[in-house]
């Protein structure tokens, strides 16, 4: 319990008040207003409308039916109830739940959101002051932010420290960071508006993959991309349209009969021919499938071109007029690369289609000709080349494209740490930090996977460290390494790739045999098997040994990437844990209610 602020006559200057005689006079007994401000983080995936996301806050004056049911802290009931109970225990404790921001994951939005919040509370920057009644009073501010909400808080501290409109009597008395990724360069905390007694509580969960790794990459807003449902629907429609009736293949093959093509007596020229009608049906089916495949390629091209079209991002309330709201998800040069790869793969169909048509025109269908007509080697070779990967450089046509696409979505890379200690090192608040580890509150902590998780996270953090150099010096391999390290923990993929372990043996045998034959089909097969082996090696090297635990069944499963990124990241805001609550209470300098 916080000791009551002593306002004894000896220590405080007397307040002078004017009163009337023979009349009723009300006198409010002053108590320092303490304002707890909740600041949400980036994640609000269910709320795709940026305007709604900006307004995604809780207004205590509105009926519950009028609220955004998806506001940031909605699901954190124990946490909210604990804060509300605290509010009721103290005379002048206020809870500000009205801050909504786009939550978009980029530095500009965080900066603007922090400034906007500070301005909104005190009426700076043309905003209407929310706490106008306190503008000329001492006020203690307590900031609680989850995830990037902590970085929004840091921008708030910057605004409070530098804005002439921020009331000098308003002091930040505590900050509670919940799972905040603290950047090395961006969003540094400023202590100019801190109370001398300010205390910082840093709450973290060691399994929190978002805080430790993912947040380093400030991914550009993608909500409008996800809205491009029409294009992805078109693609899916064409994919679903891909069909090949195996019955027709069987029927044609089963219809094969030896046919003597030499009419002369005693002369025999046997050919294994398929029944004409059945073969025609088979060839028509194949040509239809190819035509459909081309439609799939067209749809992919359409989708890629859509990503290259400047998308309009509806600007969040706090960003209006302050931020550009147009962006190409795919740059022109990257689009050209994607299209070139697609063209190469699609070209692999040409010989097949040409041969099928020629055969259809000729009207005679030897069974051996069918396999020649399919031109499997021509068909598969560009595809196999595309998925190829070098196990050392982790490069390959497809991965180079994916890596480049990822790079284009990263607004800024800045390595993060899990504590504000580095940011506060040179200040007098360096020793005013309480670290609260809530890892034990994470259900995953009871699944005995600490060794595997440790292996996984140290590998990722090693990559981040290497990548945290000047942009010009960054090695794209590190980004691919990071991607493969993440993929290597995806359980179905990890288990699938394990089955390719024996590919090494196949590859060796095939290579020996392949050296004796010129068969292009075999060459493609050898390449494919080699690639599979490379994937096996890459994934094996990066697999932490199985992070996921499927029993007991939870959604998402314990230890899955989804779990570590979302569930572990939110452990800190599930409740106002006792050490966090105690640290906050110590900082409250409003009085406990009497009685």
């Amino acid at each position: 319990m916080a000791p009551p602020t002593s306002q004894s006559p000896d220590s405080e200057s007397k307040q002078k008040v004017r009163v009337a005689l023979n009349s009723a006079n009300k006198l409010v007994v002053r108590d320092v207003p303490n304002i707890i401000v909740l600041v949400g983080g980036t994640v609000d995936p269910g709320n795709m409308d940026t305007a709604a996301r900006s307004a995604s806050f809780h207004d205590p004056k509105l009926a519950s039916s009028a609220h955004d049911p998806n506001w940031y802290w909605q699901d954190n009931r124990p946490f909210r109830e604990a804060l509300d109970a605290l509010r009721k225990d103290y005379t002048n404790l206020h809870l500000f739940t009205m801050h909504g921001w786009s939550g978009d994951n980029n530095p500009d939005n965080r900066t603007i959101a922090g400034r906007y919040l500070a301005d909104r509370l005190c009426g700076g920057g043309g905003e209407k002051p929310y706490y106008a009644a306190f503008l000329n009073r001492e006020v203690s501010i307590h900031l609680i932010g989850h995830s990037h909400g902590g970085n929004v808080i840091n921008e708030f501290t910057e605004r409070a420290a530098t804005s002439k409109e921020w009331p000098k009597k308003w002091k930040i008395r505590s900050i509670t960071y919940l799972s905040t990724p603290f950047f090395t360069k961006m969003h540094p905390v400023k202590t100019g508006a801190f109370s001398d007694a300010c205390h910082i509580t840093n709450v973290f969960c060691k399994y929190d993959l978002t805080q430790r790794v993912v947040a380093d990459f400030s991914l550009m807003p993608l909500h409008d991309v996800l809205r491009q449902k029409g294009n992805s629907d078109a693609l899916m429609k064409e994919v679903h349209g891909l069909h090949f009736d195996m019955g027709k293949l069987n029927a044609a093959l089963m219809s094969t009969r030896p046919v003597d093509k030499d009419d002369r007596f005693w002369h025999i020229d046997l050919h294994l021919l398929m029944d004409k009608v059945k073969a025609e049906q088979l060839y028509d089916e194949s040509l239809t499938a190819i035509a459909q495949l081309r439609k799939v390629f067209d749809a992919v091209r359409g989708l890629l071109r859509q990503f290259n079209t400047p998308l309009q991002f509806p600007v969040a309330t706090e960003l209006k007029g302050k931020l550009t709201h147009e962006r190409k998800v795919l740059s022109d040069s990257l689009l050209a690369r994607f299209l070139a790869e697609l063209k190469t793969v699609e070209k692999g169909i040409d010989p097949t289609e040409k041969a099928l048509r020629a055969r259809r025109k000729k009207g005679e269908y030897p069974v051996g000709g069918l396999f020649d007509d399919l031109h499997l080697a021509d068909f598969l070779q560009p595809l196999v080349r595309l998925i190829g990967v070098d196990r050392k450089t982790l490069n390959g046509p497809l991965w180079a494209l994916i890596g480049s696409m990822l790079e284009e979505q990263v607004a800024e890379f800045d390595n993060t740490v899990t504590s504000p200690a580095a940011q506060l090192k040179a200040t007098k608040f360096a020793t005013a930090i309480t670290q609260v580890d809530v890892s034990k509150e994470d259900g995953y902590s009871h699944r005995h996977k600490d060794v595997e998780f440790g292996r996984f996270i140290s590998r990722l953090e090693g990559i981040e460290k290497r990548y945290a150099v000047a942009p010009a010096l960054r090695n794209p391999r590190d980004l691919r390494d990071l991607l493969f390290t993440l993929l290597a923990q995806v359980e179905p993929l990890r288990l699938l790739v394990q089955k390719w372990a024996s590919a090494a043996d196949w590859a060796a045998s095939l290579a020996t045999y392949g050296s004796k034959t010129k068969s292009p089909g075999l060459r493609v097969l050898i390449d494919l098997v080699n690639h599979l082996e490379s994937y096996f090696v890459i994934v094996s090297e990066r697999s932490a040994g199985g992070l996921q635990v499927d029993q007991p069944k939870v959604d998402p499963p314990y230890g899955s990437l989804d779990y570590l990124m979302r569930v572990s990241h939110s452990v800190s805001r599930q409740d106002l844990y006792p050490p966090v609550k105690e640290a906050l209470k110590k900082q409250l300098d409003t009085r406990l209610k009497r009685g």
């Binding site: 009551p4 602020t5 002593s6 306002q7 004894s8 006559p9 405080e12 007397k14 307040q15 002078k16 008040v17 004017r18 009163v19 009337a20 005689l21 023979n22 009349s23 009723a24 006079n25 009300k26 006198l27 409010v28 007994v29 002053r30 108590d31 207003p33 509010r87 009721k88 103290y90 005379t91 002048n92 404790l93 206020h94 002051p129 106008a132 009644a133 306190f134 503008l135 000329n136 009073r137 409003t590 009085r591 209610k593 009497r594």
Partner: protein, 217 residues
């Protein structure tokens, strides 16, 4: 002979009436010549320095007394009452019930007491008293102290009067007499906002009425 009196800070009708030998404040307040004043100042204990009052002639008090007897006349000591209600600060403000207080009034014995269940303190104070020191114990360890400027509260349509009320209600407006128009407007707007008032003028009639209602006078 009728006279005029210009009100000075800290004066109220009882003091003025006594100064001119009037039997009580009603003789002053109800005088037909002061009808406009009465209309302007519905509370005779909240008046404005600079207000002018017509002073009616004081008729000497007449007492009937028989001769050859000893009579005792009791002169009532003129007193006024100080009525304060203490409230917590904050969103769920409650009256400060049953708290101990100590009042030091100039020229009078100190007064000790306890607020009632609704946080009220009502105590007689000498009519001429203009200043008092009040201490309220919120707990055994914690107390608050005020200097009370008695009878210095001016009407709510006076900016200083509005500011004094705002101060008493927790909307810090600074020294009521100091010139700080932006702050006053800011606090009046804050008061309007807190009370759900939408009035164009910062100190319009609705705001003044609400200010008086919330403050008590």
């Amino acid at each position: 002979m009728p006279r005029k009196h210009t009100v000075k800070a800290g004066e109220h009708l009882m003091r003025i009436a006594r100064k001119y030998g009037l039997p009580d404040w009603k003789a002053l307040y109800d005088a037909p010549e002061n009808a406009a004043f009465k209309q302007r100042r519905p509370n005779p204990f909240v008046i404005l320095p600079g207000d002018t009052l017509h002073i009616p002639d004081a008729a000497p008090a007449e007492m009937k007394a028989g001769t050859g007897k000893q009579h005792t006349f009791t002169l009532k000591k003129a007193q006024t009452t100080l009525k304060l209600q203490f409230h917590d600060d904050g969103p769920d403000a409650r009256p400060l019930a049953r708290v101990r207080y100590h009042l030091d009034i100039e020229g009078a014995q100190p007064v000790e007491g306890q607020t009632d269940g609704e946080g009220w303190m009502a105590t007689p104070v000498p009519m001429d008293a203009e200043e008092a020191t009040l201490t309220v114990w919120l707990s055994e360890q914690e107390s608050m102290e005020w200097t009370l400027e008695l009878s210095h509260l001016t009407p709510s349509d006076d900016v200083a009067g509005a500011r004094a009320r705002l101060n008493n209600l927790g909307f810090d407006s600074g020294d009521p007499s100091a010139a700080d128009e932006p702050l006053t407007e800011q606090m009046l707007r804050a008061f309007q906002q807190a009370n759900g008032l939408e009035e164009q003028d910062a100190l319009g009639p609705q705001t003044r009425a609400r200010l008086e209602r919330e403050h008590g006078c």
